[in-house]
């Protein structure tokens, strides 16, 4: 399966991801949302849940990967095969950690909204998606700049607000993960 070249179809999947980014915002989490599309259907969704779980690795992508693993377990699907056929739509460029996680499960197509200048692993800070890493997993393709302005706008809304989970008020803007 290839990334659909039809722009309206890409946009409509991305629009769906925004629902989860908004849900994150409502829950006082960094507003990043994603969906994992398999066989033209949404197999899993995810949004940032770092504050809720007190686990800084609970980014949208990791949450969604967890759900796919559960699905494969329940339906006795071959997880390697399923991941290789999945396209990820995420509102913000995956961070270095998530890019590595995506490779390690073998997701091969990633569509994202805006750049992640602070943590981006698909070009902004490092190129984890294409670097030579034989043991980590296959490299993946990226389609960027899909509804990027909307993604930036959501992030701005968040960073204007407060992160009540940070013990030190001064750290809230600087330290929030996305």
């Amino acid at each position: 399966m290839t990334v659909p070249q039809d722009k309206s179809s890409i946009d409509s999947w991305m629009l769906k991801s925004f629902e989860f980014a908004e849900e994150a915002l409502t829950n006082n989490e960094v507003p990043v949302g994603c969906i994992l599309v398999w066989k033209d259907k949404i197999l899993a969704t995810g949004r940032n849940e770092v504050n809720e779980t007190k686990n800084a690795t609970r980014h949208a992508e990791i949450v969604a990967i967890d759900k796919v693993l559960e699905y494969c377990e329940e339906h006795s699907e071959d997880k390697t095969k399923v991941f290789s056929e999945i396209t990820l739509y995420v509102t913000v460029e995956p961070c270095i950690m998530c890019a590595a996680a995506l490779r390690s499960v073998g997701v091969s197509k990633v569509v994202y909204g805006c750049k992640n200048e602070r943590f981006g692993g698909c070009g902004s800070v490092l190129n984890i998606h294409t670097d030579t890493l034989h043991q980590l997993g296959p490299s993946f393709q990226c389609v960027d700049d899909v509804m990027a302005d909307e993604a930036v706008q959501l992030l701005k809304t968040f960073y204007k607000g407060e992160n009540t989970n940070a013990p030190d008020g001064k750290r809230k803007i600087k330290d929030n993960n996305c």
Binding site: V50, E52, T53, K54, N55, A56, T57, R58, I62, I65, D66, L69, E73, K79, C95, I96, M97, A100, A101, S104, V105, R118, F119, G121, V125, L126, I128, L133, H134, Q135, L136, T164, N165, A166, P167, D168, K174, D175, N177
Partner: protein, 326 residues
């Protein structure tokens, strides 16, 4: 009176994994210099140069170099500016007309382009041209293996042994022999310990990822489920310890140290950035490791949190964990 095991402990080498800039060769750039024949004009010339040709790119470079020759005469050379193609000797001369009586001909020399960060770099740099050096005591201690005292090393070794014990449990279960322990270094309390479960059902459950989640569990949250059969551990913070409004309360892995038998991969290294870990000690290196081997995520430029990394802790034992695995 150190006994045998203490001797071993004391000789244990703990290597810091520093940013490449601390081990980089001294980079040089070409600069125009002139000889100053009338030393009484030094301050006039320097005042003129500081406005006309400020060395703003190379603030560590001293303008003046005095060299004593064997017959005890002193030669004074002054840096005019960095060499560039569109700035010729003639152009420079034309700007220095008020000093023609006191300067010799203009030449090109090599000056160190960045400030030295270590004594070694300083010594190399000054062979070319005098520079200022502000010694970072901690970097010096790290580079001279004098950062840890005997007691520190014993504690480090102790915690790494706990990580090795976790790796051995993993090995018994036919899992990857990688163990991890997260410790609060202020109290030496073990916050969490676990091993790598990626070869089980969950490809993301690397030892670090699990350990970070167990820390979240210690704070009353967390995500993944574990069974008693896993033999993982996390402490349980009391209600007043996990008060998020308290400045001293635990926040993610802030202030904690991770001990892990093998160098973390890039996913795990970045998970530790997000988790605000303070320090990592690891045993074995890994070819695709992200704390020194393939990347240096802990000191990656552009990231907003950095942490300290040391390797070589009980590395022989950590290496041996892999014999007859898989």
């Amino acid at each position: 009176k150190p006994d045998e095991s203490c001797m071993k402990c004391d000789s244990m080498k703990i290597e810091p994994v520093l940013h490449d800039k601390y081990t980089a060769l001294v980079e040089l750039v070409d600069a125009y210099v002139c000889q100053l024949t009338n030393k009484k004009r030094t301050s006039d010339l320097l005042r003129f140069l500081s406005t006309k040709y400020p060395l703003s790119e190379h603030p560590h470079v001293k303008r003046v170099k005095s060299t004593k020759s064997t017959d005890n005469t002193t030669t004074v050379q002054v840096v005019i500016c960095e060499h560039s193609a569109d700035l010729t000797c003639d152009v420079i001369k034309s700007t220095l007309t008020e000093f023609t009586d006191c300067i010799g001909c203009i030449g090109v020399v090599k000056i160190p382009s960045t400030a030295p960060l270590t004594r070694k770099q300083y010594e190399v740099a000054t062979q070319y041209w005098p520079v200022n050096f502000y010694e970072n005591k901690i970097i010096t201690q790290l580079l001279t293996d004098s950062y840890f005292n005997y007691d520190d090393k014993e504690i480090i070794q102790q915690h790494m042994k706990e990580a090795i014990d976790m790796a051995l449990i993993a090995k018994q279960k036919q899992m990857m022999p990688v163990g991890a322990v997260i410790v609060d270094p202020v109290t030496n309390r073990v916050i969490a310990k676990c091993y790598d479960k990626r070869s089980g059902t969950h490809p993301l459950q690397h030892a670090t990822m699990v350990c970070v989640d167990l820390v979240a569990k210690s704070q009353g949250a967390g995500m993944w489920n574990y069974t008693t059969d896993d033999k993982f551990y996390n402490c349980e913070m009391k209600e007043d310890e996990i008060n998020n409004d308290s400045k001293s309360g635990p926040y993610l892995c802030t202030g904690y140290h991770l001990y892990i038998t093998q160098e973390p991969c890039v996913m795990c290294a970045m998970a530790l950035v997000h988790s605000r870990i303070q320090r990592v000690y690891y045993g074995s290196k890994h070819i695709e490791g992200a704390l020194g081997s393939k990347y240096k995520i802990h000191v990656q430029d552009g990231l907003n949190h950095h942490y300290q990394v040391f390797n070589g802790v009980l590395s022989e034992i950590c290496d041996q964990l892999w014999t007859d695995y898989g």
